[in-house]
Symmetry: C2
Subunit: 272 residues, 2 copies
């Protein structure tokens, strides 16, 4: 998906919500466990309940790899089930030498058919080169939303700025705002403000809303740009909204509430 289509879809949906598809057998509604492929059945229900209010889906590979080969079958079925209109992010956080990175890129783009992959920038540009393709996106980790991220990411550089910002000056040259996004955690508002100043046009993938404590309003205050520039991910808060038989209703309600909030933000900022 190119940037024009992405922005246009955000405007059509009046939403910039990404639903994290992180299925956990121990947390999903028990009635699904008797089906042949509970992981897929769960994801299918979540997609049906959320597709009108979201623009993207983000399966995290960890939840599928945990299940061995059958997990990857469920992942492929899930990705194939996502409507073609939606942006598909494979949350892989990979990074490896060129030869191995090439294998990952073939797997993620050719086999699974995703639009974007999350990547760690620590190994330098040749480790991400295989992920640069027409209409595909690399999403580079910058400031993550987990509690101990700062002990590494905020180490000061020789220019007396945090190291994530020093990394940004390098990694923003690896591609353009048309094929590169950055992961900027919702729990790091100060960082988000600084990063937005450094890369005004790039999209951010923002985890950390909901269970992890981030606020949608605050994130938008610091991260929004004239093309929206934000894809806000929510996983657990949405997909485990209820463990009842009618959990899809709860999932839909959660998504509708977020979508309405997003629509208002887009209107207030003259984006739609």
């Amino acid at each position: 998906m190119d940037i024009k289509s992405l922005i246009s879809f955000i405007k059509t949906q009046k939403s910039f919500l990404c639903v994290g598809l992180d299925p956990d057998i121990n947390q999903m509604p028990p009635h699904l466990l008797s089906s042949n492929d509970p992981i897929f059945e769960f994801n299918k229900s979540i997609i049906d309940a959320s597709k009108n209010y979201s623009i993207a889906y983000k399966p995290n590979l960890a939840f599928y790899e945990k299940l061995g080969p059958s997990g990857l079958v469920s992942l492929k079925k899930t990705i194939d089930y996502i409507p073609k209109s939606h942006f598909i992010i494979l949350d892989a956080k990979r990074s490896d030498v060129f030869n191995s990175a090439k294998m990952y890129a073939e797997s993620f783009y050719n086999h699974y058919g995703c639009d974007a992959v999350t990547l760690s920038p620590y190994m330098g540009k040749d480790a991400i080169d295989p992920f640069i393709r027409k209409e595909k996106w690399m999403i580079l980790l910058l400031t993550t939303s987990n509690p101990s991220a700062g002990e590494i990411q905020n180490i000061k550089s020789i220019n007396d700025i945090p190291i994530y910002l020093e990394f940004l000056k390098v990694i923003k040259t690896w591609g353009s705002y048309e094929n590169t996004m950055f992961v900027v955690g919702a729990t790091k508002l100060n960082e988000m403000k600084i990063i937005r100043k450094e890369v005004p046009s790039h999209f951010f993938l923002v985890p950390g809303i909901g269970k992890q404590g981030g606020s949608l309003q605050k994130v938008c205050e610091f991260g929004l740009n004239s093309n929206c520039g934000l894809i806000i991910n929510s996983s657990r808060d949405i997909i485990y909204a209820s463990s009842n038989k009618n959990f899809v209703q709860y999932v839909s309600e959660k998504c509708i509430n977020i979508q309405i909030e997003m629509e208002n933000i887009l209107k207030d900022n003259n984006i739609i």
Copy 2:
């Protein structure tokens, strides 16, 4: 495997060679392609040909994930085939928030049964916590052997030292030399010298010998400690030593030559 057993196995084998199991259909001897599971057959031959001269195996997950679910079946069969005496490193270079990292740890330790996992330190300690278990090892990326690693890893910190060294001061506190190793590329000798000074007792996993240009003698000069302290990986140089039907002979010869060189180094340094 605990550190005592590892050191003792190095002394018995008179070797500190790790064989990288990175099977690529396009590079393996053509006569294997007609078998039911060429990936496993290839690995099986490599293991048979190398097990007397090596102490560890390191499958890189990228090469298996590329093949979808069947690749993971081949990986599991491969790991089950490796002799129990040998140290098994899953080269995954993962790093994710606690909840996802837990899934990876369960997959790598419980499902596959490996001894060690390579991890990226960029997300901080909570992202690697699930990998800390009795007799298991985390192997943290520090200086990698790929050409553009330096553009990130050598950025200077406020203390006028490269950032990888600043990271090391933090990440060496996450565990001890009994459950933590560091990836230190063979092509980075200056860095290896500095890192060995900072962590005299830790084992290093050293990629980059052979095709990538690193020298075994030089690496040992800078990286060896009184317990050896080095696991030297070689992948392509060994496993693609020949594409003939009798390729296992070439693989054995390559391994024997490296083992003899290692035995001499261990003797010269009074380790055996």
